[in-house]
């Protein structure tokens, strides 16, 4: 398997990934954010697939926003959540009723940090489309132009992880890696048919070891952390000049950065070390933008108070550590310590395997907190891989929690999603049943896997 943010001695050039940044406080990023001057290029052609009005009856419901209802009812129809309530909730006669007693319901799982499609399986060199590692700043590239919709990883994320939305980020070789794209996790012939309607773009940035290593090894800037900052600051100054001008001449990179300065494009910033995050926060203040989230933020626990005060989320693994120098101080209590300080926690994957188990990663992080005396209710932990991710991606007004009017992105789990013994039983996206563990034909099989060994297997 590839270690996306790991760079061993063997496969350095293609192995670097990027982090993202999103801010819990970034508000509800609504509306389509394309390049303002270019209309909406590569627009989403996604339409919800047909569904039937459905009532999930008798489940334990975690609504993603911190609420829990035992023996509850979830109603959805026409692609949207209609109501969430207790067992007294009236169920219209024509709704498909699903007996969910003993089972659990959550919002669709959301991964804020994925490279599916950009680094698809099979992980061959010809598929290595996630890092435009030819210049330290490439804000002009868009991750969607690399996405291979036939990546089998999308199907595993759906079936095993209950993932209904995900943000695909460029890698972390570059200080500015390019624009992200947010997808609904539906199979498609084109990336446009997967694009989350109205989701804002993010600019992926990266601190630390990766950019300085990739370019330093070539004898060019940046080769140091101070070089990272110098190249970044100059790029922002140039972007400001562009943004303050008439913007008449198209410049793809500066359009992206100007979008950040305008507050329309979010910042997802790969950054491991606490001291570097603090410097990035000051760079953002100097240049006039907001960091939405630090990704791979293994040292966030050291500055949880600063992150809370600045309204910045930390997108983290539960317990990855030690694979690179800047991950040496990673501790499994990171998420719990952040939550305990009132800072925003998002559990992310950065991995085609990890994306299948975001719920498990959150549960481990919760338990590590419990053992040091930090007790975080299950319902809040579920928010780490649902609503908090949606907030940091600017799609919280549309999905991420089970609230009337939101997209009916719903997972029915066959047990407690924070238990090792549970798996998704059914997954709906915009009210359409896209995965059913009880119906072997109701699982997607990518073009790549057709007619090959293991086609349609349970996986």
């Amino acid at each position: 398997m590839k270690r996306l943010d790991w760079c061993g001695r063997r496969a350095c050039a293609v192995a670097v990934l990027a982090g993202t940044l999103a801010a819990c406080s970034a508000g509800s990023g609504t509306g389509t954010v394309g390049s303002a001057s270019a209309g909406t290029p590569y627009a989403s052609t996604y339409h919800a697939y047909p569904g039937v009005p459905t009532a999930l009856v008798g489940a334990t419901i975690f609504d993603g926003a911190g609420g829990r209802i035992d023996n509850g009812v979830v109603l959805f129809a026409n692609g949207a959540i209609e109501a969430v309530g207790t067992s007294g909730l009236a169920i219209p006669a024509d709704y498909r009723q699903i007996d969910a007693r003993g089972k659990f319901v959550t919002p669709g799982v959301i991964d804020i940090h994925s490279h599916l499609g950009d680094y698809p399986t099979p992980s061959v060199e010809a598929h290595s489309d996630g890092n435009e590692a030819t210049s330290p700043t490439t804000p002009e590239v868009w991750a969607e132009h690399s996405v291979w919709p036939q990546d089998p990883g999308f199907t595993r994320a759906l079936a095993n992880g209950g993932v209904t939305s995900l943000q695909i980020l460029p890698g972390s070789a570059n200080l500015s890696g390019g624009r992200s794209v947010t997808l609904k996790n539906v199979p498609g012939r084109t990336v446009q048919s997967m694009k989350f309607p109205g989701a804002p773009y993010s600019l992926k940035m990266a601190c630390g070891e990766n950019p300085k290593r990739v370019y330093g090894n070539r004898g060019q800037a940046p080769s140091t952390r101070m070089g990272n900052f110098a190249v970044n600051r100059q790029a922002w100054l140039d972007a400001r000049e562009y943004a303050e001008g008439d913007r008449a001449k198209r410049d793809l990179g500066k359009e992206t950065m100007a979008g950040v300065l305008d507050g329309e494009i979010l910042i997802q910033n790969h950054c491991y070390r606490a001291d570097e995050m603090a410097l990035v926060i000051d760079m953002a203040k100097e240049m006039g933008y907001q960091v939405t989230a630090f990704h791979h933020a293994v040292e966030s626990y050291k500055i949880a108070d600063i992150l809370r005060e600045n309204g910045i989320c930390s997108a983290v693994w539960a317990d990855w550590y030690g694979f690179k120098m800047e991950a040496y101080d990673a501790i499994p209590e990171n998420a719990a310590l952040l939550h305990n300080s009132g800072a925003c926690v998002v559990i992310h994957s950065d991995d085609e395997n990890g994306i299948q188990r975001l719920n498990q990663e959150a549960a481990k992080a919760q338990a590590d907190g419990h053992r040091m005396g930090i007790d975080i209710p299950d319902a809040e932990v579920v928010g780490w891989f649902t609503l908090n991710a949606a907030r940091a991606m600017g799609i919280a007004d549309a999905t991420g929690s089970l609230e009337a009017g939101k997209m009916a992105d719903v997972v029915l789990w066959n047990g407690d999603p924070l238990s090792i013994y549970s798996r998704p039983e059914k997954v709906w996206i915009d009210g359409a049943l896209m995965f059913d563990a009880l119906d072997r034909k109701h699982r997607p099989v990518s073009d790549f896997e057709l007619g090959q060994p293991g086609e349609g297997d349970v996986k």
């Binding site: 063997r10 399986t121 099979p122 061959v124 595993r156 050291k302 500055i303 990673a330 090792i420 996986k459």
Partner: protein, 457 residues
């Protein structure tokens, strides 16, 4: 705090020799034996002289024995982590701290991890705190298809780490082996066969017969041939292997040292099994075997055990097109001996073996999937890998006469919410502090107090 609790802190230097074993009993616990059976309620475990002397339900414990109340706890054998790089690396991407592979080495099969293993590496302490008490340590192939010789270790907080050096030779076939061999599986197979033949004749000339010297502990015998002690037998000019590499393969071709073979594709696995026709003495273990389920009957018939990661389910390479999480369950159902091991992403560490195993229990609830029962899953990270490592009955089980590796957990060890509370290795309670736990304690409150955080230790 229990009277048994060690008072050692991180200030104490690591002991050059293990501390004396304690005699104790744990009563009233849920006890998982590790042998594939389901857990026992209200079980008792008695350890004396570093060994398990009694295990069972409602056992009477003699009055003289310090007793740990296990009510609400789970007690298990220590976990056995297979094919790890424990002690070979501090930080993967810091090359000078990483002894896992040796791409520029003139040697392949002769490489021996034993003198390189460092029990003070943090991953050792993290794994120990995760309940891992024994492991195999393997080099990774980089200079040749032969990675070199792996060792069996314990994770005790002392320097008496390597319990069985040169326990196995590791060879890469499949895509990786083909690249290392010059670009094709054809070359990998030619190199392997040539190497085994050279070793066979070299052994005769050098009078290296791979004899064993007795060793007291669970591993049984040591491998008598240390490649560094290779004799000076004349060799014809037409050889590919260095003298050390040839010597290292003598016990392999004689069947006295296990040969771990990494292969994933169904046809590659069959080619591995076919090696027995040419080299009948080979004592092989399949590593990886991602498509093993497709040829599970053949693997079972050959009696070759498998060590594999539990959750590979993507066609990461063309040799893994049929990857499925049901691989382990289907092989077990076919009668293959399967241990869970292998670490394929940055998030996979030995301490997360229970998560791999637990997922296979969850899989059993999925129509069409093949998982494991709880007992089978726990055995796949305890007794089964210990047995494959040659330590069956001594390690990875709670049974009379087994080594006193005992873990007390705060709940079901396969559940995400559980963790070890106390860990005993050879009957010695282990210090579970480490770099991570100290950082945790320092940053319990992130903002500094009257002095900077650096004074908080």
């Amino acid at each position: 705090m229990s009277a048994l609790r060690l008072t050692a802190t991180l200030l104490a230097a690591m002991a050059a020799t293990p501390a004396p074993a304690q005699d104790f009993a744990i009563t009233g616990a849920t006890v998982a034996l590790g042998d594939g059976s389901e857990p026992i309620e209200n079980g008792t475990v008695v350890v004396r002289g570093g060994m398990i002397v009694a295990v069972g339900k409602d056992l009477m414990v003699t009055m003289d024995l310090p007793t740990i109340n296990g009510a609400g706890k789970w007690v298990t054998p220590g976990l056995f982590a297979s094919i790890t790089n424990l002690g070979l690396v501090d930080v993967d991407a810091v090359s000078e701290s990483n002894d896992v592979d040796a791409g520029d080495s003139p040697f392949g099969a002769a490489l021996d991890v034993a003198p390189a293993i460092n029990p003070t590496a943090q991953d050792f302490a993290y794994s120990r705190a995760g309940g891992v008490t024994r492991a195999s340590v393997t080099p990774e192939a980089d200079s040749s298809i032969f990675a070199g010789q792996g060792a069996m270790i314990d994770l005790g907080d002392d320097y008496d780490t390597v319990r069985l050096p040169r326990a196995f030779q590791f060879v890469e076939l499949g895509e990786r082996g083909a690249r290392l061999a010059g670009g094709s599986r054809t070359s990998a197979h030619a190199l392997l066969r040539n190497a085994l033949r050279e070793a066979g004749t070299f052994g005769e000339g050098a009078r290296l017969i791979g004899g064993r010297t007795a060793r007291s502990d669970a591993g049984g015998g040591d491998i008598g041939v240390d490649s560094r002690m290779a004799g000076d037998a004349e060799r014809p000019g037409d050889v590919l292997l260095t003298r050390f590499d040839a010597a290292a393969l003598v016990p392999v071709v004689a069947g006295q040292q296990k040969l771990y073979v990494e292969a994933h594709r169904s046809t590659d696995i069959l080619a591995v099994l076919d090696l027995k026709k040419e080299f009948p003495a080979l004592d092989m273990v399949l590593v990886g075997a991602t498509e093993g389920w497709m040829v599970a009957d053949r693997i079972a018939a050959a009696g070759v055990p498998v060590i594999t990661a539990a959750l590979s389910d993507l066609p990461v390479t063309f040799e893994r097109l049929a990857a499925t999480q049901s691989n382990v369950g289907r092989m077990v159902d076919a009668g293959v001996t399967v241990a869970i091991g292998g670490y394929e992403t940055s998030g996979d560490h030995p301490r997360n073996l229970p998560q791999q195993a637990g997922n296979l229990v969850a899989l059993n609830k999925r129509p069409g999937a093949s998982g494991l029962t709880w007992g089978e899953a726990f055995a796949a990270i305890t007794s089964v890998p210990a047995s494959i490592a040659g330590m069956g009955g001594k390690v990875g089980v709670l049974a009379e006469g087994a080594i006193g590796d005992v873990v007390i957990w705060d709940g079901d060890p396969l559940e995400l919410s559980s963790a070890p509370e106390r860990v005993f290795i050879d009957g010695v309670e282990q210090n579970l502090d480490n770099h991570q736990s100290r950082l945790r304690d320092r940053y319990r409150t992130p903002a500094p107090g009257d002095l900077p955080k650096a004074y908080d230790w």
